[in-house]
């Protein structure tokens, strides 16, 4: 759930709870007060009537009783009925035209010793407050007054409705305000999240604008500082990687030269010496022994030569990339029985800076080795050319291919590691490696390295 939704829901919930609680409380209070007022009024009317009725009852002045109850009926709007019962429960006077409704007489009995009794009656004509008041302790009869509770109920309902409407209004306003607030609050966070994703993808130049001095602003500043440090670290790593690679290349070059020149020459002279011994020796066993030694020296020379070539072919330094790749692709094709077609275009005539040449050579080596290991290809094309200010190298096979975007199994994982190495090497010279491959449709490794016309020799 988004932060924005959480904020909006929290505020809406709060308003709703407050509004409903307030409404309930007000409704409860008002209903109580109104009920009390109604009861007091009923009591006042009944007690007033008692004062007058006691004498009328004693004198059995039925006419007087009717006049009294009719005048009460007319003066009080919410008066529903007035009934005066005799001591034995007989009706002395009543505002009901056709006799008492069933059950009214029995309802609301006054317990002994009480001055009055109140009861709420639910009738077909609505809710009523029935007051019973004995006259002269019940000796003279009982006065029954019925007041409608409609007003009370409608007042409470209308108050409830108004309070609910106000709550609704506040809720709406609260939703709008909280939505705006949440947006205001989460927008910089979303921007930060975007930036963090970009940084995660490797775009370390990404900055976020600091728009406030609050916590979010603080977070943005910390984020920018982190990105800066990451960038420094990344630059350090790059520098270090460049140093490691160049040290490794220098070392390989040195060892290859040493093997090729010093050890190779020593073995050559050894072989020449053995040849001389072979020709001059008179003893046949010595000659045979010398021949054996010659084979050992020859094999060792071969081994050293291959090792030297493997470490770093001297042709790469002496004759350049094209010659070295020609040699490499030819040897590679022979070794793995894959047809390797090498084409060097405009770069055949000019030499790139040695660092570029070594990088291209190593990446082609890696690409071809990958093909030999995983692709089961029959044909590989390696093309080397210049396009505008860029050296473009493509190594393409017709092998099994793979899904370059997918999560792969372990051999393909190893392959991806090889790809990562190629990318790193290319990036050191501002170049990039692109892999295009589909399962069953071969793999093409594209290498683009920017070159400066002035650096060509």
């Amino acid at each position: 759930m988004s932060l924005r939704l959480q904020i909006v829901l929290a505020i809406a919930g709060l308003i709703l709870v407050l509004g409903l609680a307030g409404t309930f409380h007000a409704r409860f209070t008002l209903s109580g007060i109104s009920e009390d007022l109604l009861e007091q009024r009923g009591n006042a009317i009944a007690s007033d009537l008692e004062g007058h009725a006691s004498e009328l009852l004693l004198t059995d002045d039925i006419y007087g009783l009717y006049r009294r109850i009719n005048s009460i009926m007319n003066s009080e709007g919410d008066m529903r009925y007035v009934v005066i019962l005799g001591p034995n429960g007989e009706v002395k006077a009543s505002t009901f035209a056709g006799g008492l409704p069933v059950g009214l007489r029995e309802a609301n009995p006054v317990p002994d010793g009480q001055a009055s009794s109140t009861e709420i009656l639910e009738t077909s004509e609505g809710s009523l407050l029935d007051m019973a008041r004995p006259v002269l302790g019940g000796e003279a009869g009982v006065i029954r007054v019925g007041l409608s509770r409609e007003r009370v109920e409608s007042d409470v309902a209308s108050l409830t409705f108004r309070l609910l409407a106000i709550t609704g209004g506040i809720l709406l306003a609260g939703l709008l305000v909280s939505y705006g607030l949440a947006t205001l609050l989460t927008r910089p966070l979303s921007r930060l999240a975007d930036a963090a994703r970009a940084v995660g993808r490797g775009d370390l130049s990404r900055k976020v604008a600091i728009e406030s001095s609050d916590e979010v602003g603080e977070l943005s500043a910390a984020f920018n500082a982190m990105t800066d440090q990451l960038r420094e670290k990344e630059e350090d790593r790059r520098r270090l990687l460049a140093q490691v690679i160049s040290a490794q290349e220098d070392e390989r070059k040195r060892v290859a030269r040493e093997l090729h020149d010093e050890a190779g020459q020593a073995l050559t002279s050894l072989m020449l010496g053995l040849k001389h011994l072979h020709e001059t020796a008179v003893d046949d066993t010595v000659r045979a022994r010398v021949a054996d030694l010659r084979t050992v020296a020859s094999d060792t020379l071969e081994l050293m030569h291959d090792l030297s070539l493997d470490l770093r072919p001297s042709s790469l330094d002496d004759l350049g990339l094209v010659a070295a790749l020609e040699r490499y692709t030819k040897d590679f094709g022979r070794k793995y029985e894959i047809n390797v077609d090498f084409h060097a275009g405009a770069l055949r005539e000019r030499r790139l800076p040695i660092q570029h040449e070594v990088t291209v050579y190593r990446i082609v080596q890696e690409a071809l080795t990958n093909t030999a290991r995983h692709a089961s290809a029959k044909n590989i094309s390696v093309t080397l050319d210049r396009r505008n200010g860029t050296a473009v190298v493509v190594a393409e096979d017709d092998g099994s291919g793979f899904d370059p975007s997918g999560q792969e199994l372990s051999p393909a994982e190893a392959r991806r590691l090889g790809i990562r190495g190629m990318e790193e090497r290319a990036a050191l010279l501002g170049g990039r490696v692109t892999i295009e491959s589909r399962p069953g449709a071969g793999t093409a490794v594209f290498l683009e390295i920017p070159i400066d016309e002035d650096d060509l020799t």
């Binding site: 040849k275 042709s315 004759l319 590989i380 493509v394 692109t434």
Partner: protein
């Protein structure tokens, strides 16, 4: 007949000593001098006028190739035989262009040197057997793709455009972006092109485009 007079140019004294032993044992040849670097080699070859200079590739001062070029110019009648560790055809090609008469490897020095010296002195060219492929390549030149093949005339304008971009080393994605078509469409087109032109791989495709003059400028 006078013995063949040989000058050894090699920066390794032990190797020179070994060669000298070997050559001096032959009745028809003798070592008349040794040079430890390129400059000495040129100097001695010019002053001693040997019949043959045995030339190492890697030497301080002038390298073998520079010495060869220099001697071709200064003493054209002196024959040059390269004796080297480098079994690389690219080296051989360069030396052949510089005008040497022989090229053998040190790993076969004990078995082939004497024969090579004799052959070169006779006026023949002596190349280490596994490297002779270069000569054949040179003779045949590169396999030509310019000659009429396939039904190239039937390439559509769009196919020609794609052929051009593929040959220039653009990725399928880049081509798709340029022409506003999908990568799949690019690859389908490309497969058609290869089929129509009977081309086997990218390198052949590039050579074809080159021969057709499709790589001279940026595509429109």
């Amino acid at each position: 007949m006078n013995p063949t007079r040989v000058l050894i140019a090699d920066d390794h004294a032990v190797v020179r000593a070994g060669i000298r032993l070997l050559i001096d044992r032959q009745e028809d040849m003798e070592v008349i001098g040794e040079a430890g670097d390129g400059w000495q080699a040129v100097e001695q070859a010019t002053s001693l006028r040997p019949d043959l200079v045995l030339l190492d590739v890697t030497m301080p001062g002038l390298n073998g190739l520079e010495v060869a070029s220099e001697l071709r110019r200064a003493v054209p009648d002196v024959r040059l035989l390269v004796l080297t560790m480098h079994d690389d055809e690219a080296y051989l090609r360069q030396f052949l262009q510089a005008g040497v008469s022989g090229y053998i490897l040190k790993k076969a020095a004990d078995t082939e040197l004497v024969a090579a010296v004799r052959a070169v002195v006779r006026g023949e060219t002596y190349i280490y057997p596994s490297l002779t492929g270069v000569l054949v390549d040179r003779f045949l030149d590169k396999p030509e793709v310019t000659k009429e093949r396939g039904s190239h005339g039937k390439l559509t304008a769009r196919e020609t455009e794609i052929l051009q971009l593929v040959a220039q080393g653009y990725t399928s994605q880049q081509i798709g972006d340029r022409l506003s078509i999908t990568v799949n469409t690019v690859q389908t087109h490309r497969a058609h092109i290869m089929e129509k032109l009977e081309l086997k791989g990218r390198a052949e495709l590039v050579r074809y485009a080159l021969a057709r003059g499709l790589l001279t400028g940026e595509p429109s």
